[in-house]
C-alpha cells in the first residue's frame, strides 16, 4: 500500500524534480559565469572589494528561484489531488489519513531538498572557489532564508490547495504573503545571521500545516 502511494507521488513529481533541479543548477551556474566574466574584466580584487565594502551581492539573482521551485512542486503535487476531489480516494484507504498526508508532504519536501540541496552545495562550492571564507559565509547566511522561503511557500500551497472553502484560500494566501515576505526582506549581506535558525525552526513547524486543511477537507467543511 505504502509503495503504491509512493509510486503515485513519484509519477506526479518525477518530471518536476528533474526540471526544477536542472533549472536551479543552471541558475547557480549562470551566477558564477557572471562572476567569472566580471573577474576577468574588472579584476578579482575590485570584485572582492565591491562585495565587501560596497554591498554588491553576486547572488542576488537567486532570490526568487527557490520560491518559484516551491510553487511548481506544490502545484504539481497537490493540484491533481483536488481535481474531482481525488484525495478522497486516498483517505478511503485502510491507512491512517494523517500518515498518508505526512507521507505526501515528505515526498514533496524530499523533492525540494534534492533540488535545493544540489543548488545549495553547488553555490557553496563555487563561492568557495572564487571567494574567501568571509564572503562565502555572508552569502550563505543571505541565501539560506531564500531557500527556506521555497519550503514555506510549498507548505502554504499544500494548505491552500487542500482547503475546501474558497474564501479561505484568500485568507490563507494573505497570511502566506505576509509570512513569506519576512524571509525575503531586503538585507545587507550576512544581515540574516541572528534570524536564520529561527526561520529554520518556523519552517520545520510549518511542515505540519497541511494536516489542518486536509482535516477540514475530509470532514466536508463548506
Amino acid at each position: 500500500m505504502w509503495k503504491s502511494i509512493l509510486y503515485k507521488e513519484w509519477l506526479k513529481l518525477r518530471w518536476i524534480i528533474l526540471i526544477s533541479t536542472a533549472l536551479g543548477i543552471m541558475a547557480v551556474g549562470s551566477l558564477f559565469l557572471n562572476v567569472q566574466h566580471d573577474f576577468l574584466f574588472m579584476g578579482a580584487m575590485t570584485y572582492w572589494y565591491n562585495t565587501l565594502f560596497l554591498g554588491v551581492q553576486y547572488f542576488h539573482l537567486l532570490k526568487y528561484v527557490p520560491l518559484v521551485i516551491g510553487i511548481a512542486i506544490g502545484v504539481a503535487q497537490y493540484f491533481p489531488e483536488t481535481v474531482n476531489k481525488r484525495i478522497k480516494l486516498s483517505f478511503h484507504l485502510p491507512i491512517n489519513e494523517n500518515k498518508i498526508l505526512l507521507l505526501m508532504m515528505l515526498c514533496g519536501t524530499t523533492t525540494l531538498l534534492v533540488s535545493f540541496g544540489s543548488m545549495f552545495l553547488l553555490f557553496w562550492g563555487l563561492s568557495a572557489h572564487f571567494f574567501p571564507q568571509e564572503i562565502v559565509y555572508g552569502a550563505i547566511v543571505s541565501v539560506t532564508p531564500w531557500f527556506l522561503s521555497g519550503f514555506v511557500i510549498y507548505f502554504f500551497i499544500s494548505l491552500i490547495v487542500m482547503e475546501p472553502v474558497w474564501k479561505y484560500w484568500i485568507l490563507y494566501g494573505l497570511i502566506g504573503y505576509a509570512f513569506i515576505g519576512l524571509y525575503l526582506e531586503p538585507s545587507t549581506t550576512g544581515g540574516y545571521e541572528p534570524v536564520v535558525l529561527k526561520f529554520a525552526l518556523l519552517t520545520v513547524l510549518l511542515s505540519l500545516s497541511s494536516l489542518f486543511s486536509a482535516y477540514r477537507f475530509r470532514k466536508g467543511e463548506m
Binding site: G43, L52, E134, Y215
Partner: protein
C-alpha cells in the same frame, strides 16, 4: 497532530499580522518628526536653530526669527563660501583674521550611526602601502584578516600569501598583540589624502596602530589608561591631520587619538548612548559642535578648538508613540513585530510592546465577540479556552489568527 498543526498556523498568522498590520498603520498614519538643526554661533556666542517642519524656520534660543541671509551671517564658519561669494564675510572674527585656506583646513565632519556598528563587518581589509612615493594610493592585490594569525589572501588566486602573513604576524606578536583582533578600524579606500593604516583592538582590548611602510609592517602599541577599552573606532582623514580617529569606550565616552603623539583625549561629552543615538561632530576654525541626535532628543555640546566645553543646548520632543497617532496605535495593537531596526543592519524578530494599556479594552472586546460567536454556534467555552487566552494576550492579531484558522474540532 491536527490540533498542533492548527496552533502552528495560528502562530504563523500572529507573526505575519503583527508585522504587516502595524506596518500598514504607520505607512498611513506616520508623520515626519525632523530633529532641529542646532549649531553654535561664534558671532552671538549662542545657538542658532533651524526647524524644517512644517516650514523652514530659523531662530535663536530667545525665539528671534531670522531670514536665510541673516542666519548664514550668524554661522560664518559654516557658510563661509556663501558669505565670501556674496561679499558679506567679515574680515575678522574675535580679533582673528579670516583666511579662507585656514577655514577650509579646519573644517571636519563626522557622523556615527548605531546601525553601522551593529552590522556584519567585512572581516577582510586591504592594507595599502603608506609610503609608496606615488601621489595616488593604489589598491593592493590582497586582503588581510586577523584571527589566529594575520593572513593575507591574494584575490586573484584566492590563496594565502604565506611569506607576507608570517612577516606581519611575527611583528604583531613581538609587539605584544594577542590574537584574534576584536576591532579593525581604518579607511579601506583609495579616496583619501594619505594612508594611515588601521587601528586594531586585540583580544586583550589593547590598541595597536598597524600600517605597511615600504612593504614592511609598522606596528605601534598605543598606551591606554587602566580599564579603558573601546567598543567602536572610526578613523578619519581630516585636512588638519590633528587626530587619527574617534573612539567610543565601553563606558560610552568619546575619545580622539592624536596623530603621531598617540595621545588619547576624552571629550567632555555626556549622555551619549551609542546603541540608539547618532553622534555628529562638526569641526571648524573656532569650535566643535558635538551633536547627540536621539529618537526624541537632541543635545549640542560645543567645544572650543582645544576640546574644552564652551556651551550646551538640549531639546526634547515627543516620540511617534507619544503623539496622537501613537496613542491610537497603542489602543489597537498590543505590540508590533518588526524585522528591521533603525539602529541595526541585522534582521531579527524585534518586539515592541505598546506604551499604554488601552489595547486591553480592545482585546476584551474581541474575547467577548469570540464568546458570543462560540455560544451562537452552540459550542462549549471550555473547548475554546486556549483561543480565548490567545486573543486576550495578542489582541487583534490573535483574533484574526484564530478566526482564519478556525477551531472546529468539537463540532
Amino acid at each position: 497532530m491536527v490540533r498542533i498543526s492548527r496552533y502552528i498556523l495560528v502562530l504563523t498568522a500572529i507573526i505575519g499580522s503583527a508585522v504587516a498590520l502595524p506596518n500598514l498603520y504607520w505607512t498611513i498614519m506616520e508623520k515626519p518628526v525632523n530633529s532641529p538643526y542646532v549649531m553654535y554661533s561664534i558671532i552671538d556666542k549662542g545657538y542658532m536653530i533651524q526647524r524644517s517642519t512644517p516650514a523652514i524656520v530659523r531662530q535663536d534660543t530667545k525665539g528671534n526669527s531670522y531670514t536665510r541671509e541673516e542666519y548664514e551671517k550668524k554661522l560664518p564658519m559654516m557658510f563661509y563660501m556663501q558669505l565670501a561669494s556674496s561679499g558679506t564675510m567679515p574680515d575678522s572674527i574675535n580679533g582673528v583674521e579670516m583666511d579662507m585656506h585656514a577655514l577650509r583646513k579646519a573644517r571636519s565632519t563626522y557622523r556615527y550611526q548605531p546601525k553601522v556598528r551593529d552590522s556584519p563587518q567585512p572581516g577582510l581589509y586591504p592594507l595599502f602601502e603608506s609610503e609608496s612615493g606615488r601621489v595616488n594610493l593604489e589598491m593592493p592585490n590582497d586582503f588581510f584578516r586577523i584571527q589566529d594569525w594575520m593572513v593575507f589572501i591574494d584575490a586573484k588566486s584566492n590563496s594565502v600569501d604565506e611569506a607576507k602573513s608570517n612577516l606581519f604576524t611575527a611583528v604583531l606578536t613581538k609587539r605584544g598583540f594577542e590574537f584574534p583582533a576584536r576591532i579593525i578600524a581604518g579607511l579601506p579606500t583609495t579616496r583619501k589624502s594619505c594612508d594611515e593604516g588601521y587601528l586594531v583592538s586585540d583580544a586583550k582590548e589593547q590598541l595597536f596602530h598597524l600600517k605597511m611602510v615600504k612593504g614592511k609592517p609598522y606596528v605601534k602599541k598605543v598606551a591606554l589608561p587602566d580599564n579603558l577599552s573601546f567598543k567602536w573606532i572610526e578613523c578619519v582623514d581630516f585636512s588638519n591631520k590633528l587626530y587619527y580617529a574617534y573612539l567610543i569606550s565601553a563606558a560610552n565616552e568619546v575619545y580622539v587619538l592624536f596623530q603621531d603623539t598617540y595621545e588619547l583625549l576624552k571629550l567632555p561629552v555626556t549622555g551619549f548612548n551609542p546603541d540608539v543615538d547618532e553622534l555628529k561632530i562638526y569641526g571648524d576654525f573656532f569650535n566643535y559642535n558635538v551633536i547627540i541626535d536621539g529618537e526624541s532628543y537632541l543635545k549640542n555640546i560645543t567645544l572650543d578648538n582645544k576640546f574644552n566645553k564652551v556651551d550646551e543646548y538640549a531639546e526634547k520632543w515627543e516620540t511617534k508613540y507619544q503623539r496622537t497617532e501613537g496613542k491610537i496605535f497603542g489602543a489597537i495593537f498590543p505590540f508590533e513585530l518588526s524585522l528591521k531596526s533603525d539602529n541595526s543592519r541585522y534582521i531579527d524578530f524585534r518586539i515592541k510592546y505598546s506604551e499604554n494599556f488601552y489595547w486591553i479594552l480592545l482585546s476584551l472586546l474581541f474575547v467577548g465577540a469570540e464568546i458570543y460567536w462560540i455560544k451562537r454556534m452552540k459550542n462549549g467555552i471550555m473547548d475554546h479556552l486556549a483561543d480565548l487566552l490567545i486573543i486576550a494576550v495578542t489582541g487583534i492579531f490573535g483574533f484574526i489568527a484564530v478566526n482564519i484558522f478556525q477551531n472546529k474540532f468539537f463540532k
